[in-house]
């Protein structure tokens, strides 16, 4: 069995982590069955959107990881269609595993049921983008594993935090918030505008198109082979 297959031992770890962490986030999103007086008196905050935010973030991390694993086990000359199929298999498998959580979480924010579907769709698109970025960064890594690791996860952290910080800095820049997965997930739960959705989906979509259409630069590692 290929080591980047969805059923491989290394993948098992990633899937188990994703399942357990998202499950914990879901359990934490659930309000405890307290009396109203106790709930009113306490300052305990139970954000029902915690699961959705954790899902977006964890799935992004998972995609970065999958991209790197696939890059480590694939030739740079692999057909793009085949590469996309591998990425999509991992993304679909991850989303399939989390399906029971999505169904269960519909009672958390019932007024935003459509938002749940939009978040899943966004996660699918952005995950593909992160897989591709991670794959490309790993190919350019020149065997410096540690450097490639920091580059991958640094890029992901920057992608999440920089637009979020800019968007939060001033009201006029709030549209930039939607570029960040955290920002967009928050906006979708609160009721995102069409502009915010377009911006949120446009950035990873353009990224995917750019990464898939740009001419390939084969690195020395693969030339040596």
């Amino acid at each position: 069995m290929r080591s980047d297959s969805v059923f491989s031992t290394s993948s098992l770890q990633a899937y188990l982590s994703l399942t357990v962490l998202c499950g914990i986030a879901l359990a934490l999103s659930i309000q405890p069955p307290l009396r109203i007086a106790a709930l009113h008196a306490s300052d305990v905050f139970h954000p029902p959107s915690l699961f959705h935010l954790a899902f977006v973030l964890l799935f992004g991390l998972f995609s970065v990881n999958r991209g790197a694993v696939i890059a480590a086990n694939t030739s740079a000359r692999i057909l793009r269609l085949k590469l996309m199929f591998r990425f999509l298999t991992h993304i679909a498998y991850g989303l399939l595993l989390l399906l029971p959580y999505f169904v269960y979480s519909r009672a958390l924010i019932p007024s935003r049921l459509a938002g749940m579907f939009i978040i899943v769709l966004y996660v699918a698109v952005s995950s593909l983008f992160f897989c591709l970025v991670s794959f490309q960064l790993d190919l350019r890594g020149d065997h410096r594993k540690r450097g490639a690791f920091f580059l991958r996860y640094g890029f992901y952290a920057a992608f999440c935090l920089v637009p979020f910080g800019i968007g939060m800095s001033h009201r006029s820049l709030s549209v930039v918030l939607s570029v960040s997965p955290i920002g967009l997930a928050t906006r979708i739960i609160g009721g995102a505008s069409a502009t915010e959705l377009v911006v949120g989906f446009l950035v990873p979509s353009i990224g995917i198109l750019w990464l898939l259409t740009r001419p390939r630069r084969i690195d020395r590692r693969h030339l040596a082979i």
């Binding site: 069995m1 297959s5 059923f7 491989s8 031992t9 993948s11 098992l12 899937y15 188990l16 399942t19 357990v20 499950g23 914990i24 879901l26 359990a27 659930i30 309000q31 405890p32 069955p33 307290l34 009396r35 109203i36 007086a37 709930l39 009113h40 399939l96 595993l97 399906l99 029971p100 959580y101 999505f102 169904v103 269960y104 979480s105 519909r106 009672a107 958390l108 019932p110 007024s111």
Partner: protein, 577 residues
Amino acid sequence: MKRYLYSRRAQRCSIACVAGLLLVSASVSAQVELSVQLGFENRVTPGHYAPIQVEVRNVHGFGAARLRIIQLVGNEWRGEATIQQELGHAIQSDGVYEAVIPIYDPLNPIVVELVSSTDTVLASTTTDLRGTMRSSPYPVLDKKIARFDDRAAVIDMTSLPTQWWAFDSAETLWVASPLPSEAWMAISQWVLAGGSVVLLTGSEFYRMDSPILRELLPLSNPVLADSDRGTTYLSGSLKDATISMLSSEGFPLLIQATHGAGHVSLVTMQAQSLSVETLESIGEQVASSRLITLRDPTEYILGEQKIVALNSLFVLAIIAVLALGVSTCALIARRSPRMAWIILLVVVAGLAVSSGFVSNPTTHVVDLYAINTTLYVEVQFGLSIRYSSLYSQTNNPFMQPHKEGIIPLLFLPRTLTGMDSYDSSTFSERTDMRVLSGKMRHWHAYGAASSMFDVRLLSESTIRIGNHYALDFDASWVSIDGMVHSIAGIARGVHEYSLIPESAVRLAVFVDSGDANELSMPELMLIRELRESFPLDKGVWLIAFADEERISARELAQKVRDITVVAVQGEDVHREI
């Protein structure tokens, strides 16, 4: 010829000017005018109801208009809220329109608007009550009585409101004139709910006499008598009353008794014969009104309500099954990846379906919790008092339904700053409001009701109860001179119920050992509240409870608990015979 032409022009000009002036004056005369009278002698008290009279003049040319009152509460430092109330009248002609509205903050001007069906403001007037407002309830005096208290409002009794909660801001109501039966009924209901009326009779008694007055009087068989010095006063047999003050001539001057939750004070002399000093000393002895409040029990019951929540343990079970499934599939996939996919799909589908059943939003999503406690009291006349407490789990606006023509009084905290909004709009049968998630809100409303029950004690072991209220009651008790008999429930219609005198318990024991009598927490709390307000240990009383819980999904999913408690004074036909 020229002169002729000039004169013709001048004539035309003058006609045009006159026509123009007429048009302008016609438009001026067509302007709708509003004049407003609020409270008694423009005295109002914040957090209390007050009567309002709006006189509308020059109404023509538009369909049914509405009267809207806009009250601004607070200030920039305290925080602000805007409360709008629409009176239920459809205004199509000139007239005086009356209603009873809650007053929130008379330090700010109160705006009254006449609004067309298309929401266009046709006329508007502003009332400034800063000079006349009272921070606490004040005495309301008949104009026949000398103003012995600076706080008092002196009014003409012919214009007395007919909705009993209009007297909410009255500390005491002093009556010395004959009244129409509607006004007597309103006074009787107010006293039943905790009001305090002072009846000044003497030689005026027979002019004032009415069946309702007889019921209120602390004397039975009232007759006029003359003292040795020739002073006419009202005499009779004391019902269950106390003489609080003697006149200088030796006859009882002030007799006081309780009626329902309130007090009736009888001054046996006519108003004009009393000096300001005597009125002052009577005023000192008269009990103040204190209307029944169910706010504390309602808030407590809401606080005890458990939040409807999803089961976290189920999530842990899903995690465990998924982890096991993923690991098993990884093992199976070494031999047969296709089989692994099939098993995984089956496991995930099974978990998704069971998640769907367990987390059904129709039963697991509650945006708003509401406890509505309605007290219906019937002693000769009926009245209802409704308290409502809300707890929100959403920031979305919602509406609270209530009876037509009733304007609820919202409880507003001192500080109105922060994210939470205290704005509200009351329409004919509903109030629209918004409460921030995790916050509570309380309101109450009063109402009048016709007689709904007929309770007659036929014998020591039989009672006949006619229930024409639109509810079946789950639990009920009959208190006969302080001995409580339990009845399983009261169905609609007229039925006879058996009482077992041997199983009756004393009222004090019944209330103190609520658990032993299997009383639920709301029942026990509300019976204790009733016992404090009404003389349940005297005569025949029926106490009945209905407790209904429902989840309604209008614009928001609401879990509503309607608790209805009924206290009816019955007749002891058995002993009368």
